[in-house]
């Protein structure tokens, strides 16, 4: 999946693509409450909805242990949206769940991030979101790690 899209992208665009993958990932993991403070700034541009926010299903597949044979985990709801700013930049979003307003804001953020004020949006929006997500992830790992039980056998009394 990662290899195929890279084919038709020139090498110069590769860092751009990686950066965009990063911010789209951060936006996808963000919470609506975290985007709402930026709502006014995000909507402060003429834009039209190319694809109004819509809810659908996506099949999640996984591999046992990360390397086994693929199997279908189940279906989840996904909301997607595409917006176009007046200057032609097009923003896409795909989010887990059914929050249409959130999807629209995330798509607007993607569009803004492709413009001249990228650095501003990265430092203002993406970096704080990424830090909050890292924190949540670390917390969850710590909580999960505390419940881990290591089984081992000192001596088996068979001999």
């Amino acid at each position: 999946m990662t290899a195929t899209p890279a084919q038709d992208t020139p090498d110069a665009a590769a860092p751009d693509q990686a950066a965009r993958q990063h911010w789209i990932g951060v936006l996808a993991r963000s919470r609506r409450a975290e985007l709402l403070p930026h709502e006014a700034a995000l909507r402060d541009a003429d834009y039209q909805l190319i694809r109004a926010p819509e809810i659908g299903m996506a099949l999640v597949r996984g591999r046992m242990g990360g390397s086994g044979a693929p199997f279908n985990v189940g279906e989840m709801t996904v909301t997607r949206c595409v917006v176009r700013l007046a200057d032609g930049r097009t923003g896409f979003s795909y989010l887990a769940g059914r929050d249409k307003a959130h999807a629209e804001l995330a798509a607007l953020a993607d569009a803004h991030l492709q413009g001249a004020r990228r650095a501003h949006w990265i430092s203002d929006l993406i970096d704080p979101l990424a830090r909050a997500q890292d924190l949540r992830r670390a917390q969850q790992h710590a909580e999960t790690a505390a419940t881990k039980v290591d089984f081992f056998t000192l001596v088996r009394g068979e001999n």
Binding site: T4, P5, D8, Q48, L49, I50, R51, V82, R84, T90
Partner: protein, 219 residues
């Protein structure tokens, strides 16, 4: 997956909005298509409020039919007139339909009147699955102005008189490929109007009325 890859190679700046209300507008267009095939020769018109915004090269009704009928399971064949970047980008984005270069693999085909002298290659379905034939969407400048022909068959009480601006070659092509239950269904589209011609409709051509309709009411 194929959808996202297909749209990726075309610039996102070509994309434009589709139906204002994706569910209801698609249902209204589908309903119009259903009525057009159920009553061959009677024009159905779509209201301006339920057609999508103008897409360069496509009539309003063609665009609406494409959005209502096409999806990932319906490969589309485009006549050269319609094979533009804007049409490709928007149909693959909004419908997710694969666009094929080979007529044989197409479930739907979008044609203009320059293509109608040759309908070879389109799938006519087979005796077990006649429904798998290719459906033609033919965009015309107008649905009137040609020679008046009488249509009869299922869905028509007596006869419908239709004067589509078509060459005789089209009717010969259609006749040659009509092998009921196999055959081709056609939607003729002009502006925001559409008109259906299912394979079951008999079209009485002036030159050969005796073959199809002996003596009875030769108007």
């Amino acid at each position: 997956m194929s959808t996202s890859l297909a749209t990726q190679s075309l610039p996102a700046s070509l994309l434009q909005p589709a139906f204002a209300d994706p569910v209801l507008d698609a249902q209204r267009s589908f309903r119009a298509a259903l009525k057009a095939l159920a009553g061959p020769g009677v024009a159905q018109s779509l209201l301006a409020t339920q057609t999508p915004p103008h897409l360069e090269g496509l009539a309003a009704a063609s665009h609406a039919l494409c959005l209502a009928l096409l999806d990932v399971d319906t490969p589309l064949w485009l006549a050269p007139t319609f094979d533009t970047q804007a049409i490709r980008a928007n149909l693959t984005f909004h419908c997710g339909c694969p666009i094929v270069s080979d007529r044989q693999n197409a479930r739907f085909a979008l044609l203009d009147d320059s293509q109608l002298h040759d309908l070879s290659g389109f799938d006519l379905g087979n005796d077990r699955y006649p429904d798998q034939s290719c459906t033609l969407l033919v965009q015309l400048p107008s649905l009137q102005g040609g020679t008046q022909l009488a249509w009869q068959g299922p869905g028509i009480e007596t006869r419908n008189h239709v004067s589509l601006p078509l060459q005789e070659a089209f009717w010969r092509e259609r006749e040659a490929r009509n092998d009921f239950p196999r055959g081709i269904d056609v939607f003729f589209v002009a502006g925001s109007e559409l008109l259906g011609l299912p394979r079951s409709t008999q079209v009485l051509l002036k030159s050969q009325p005796a073959n199809l309709q002996p003596s009875r009411g030769a108007a």
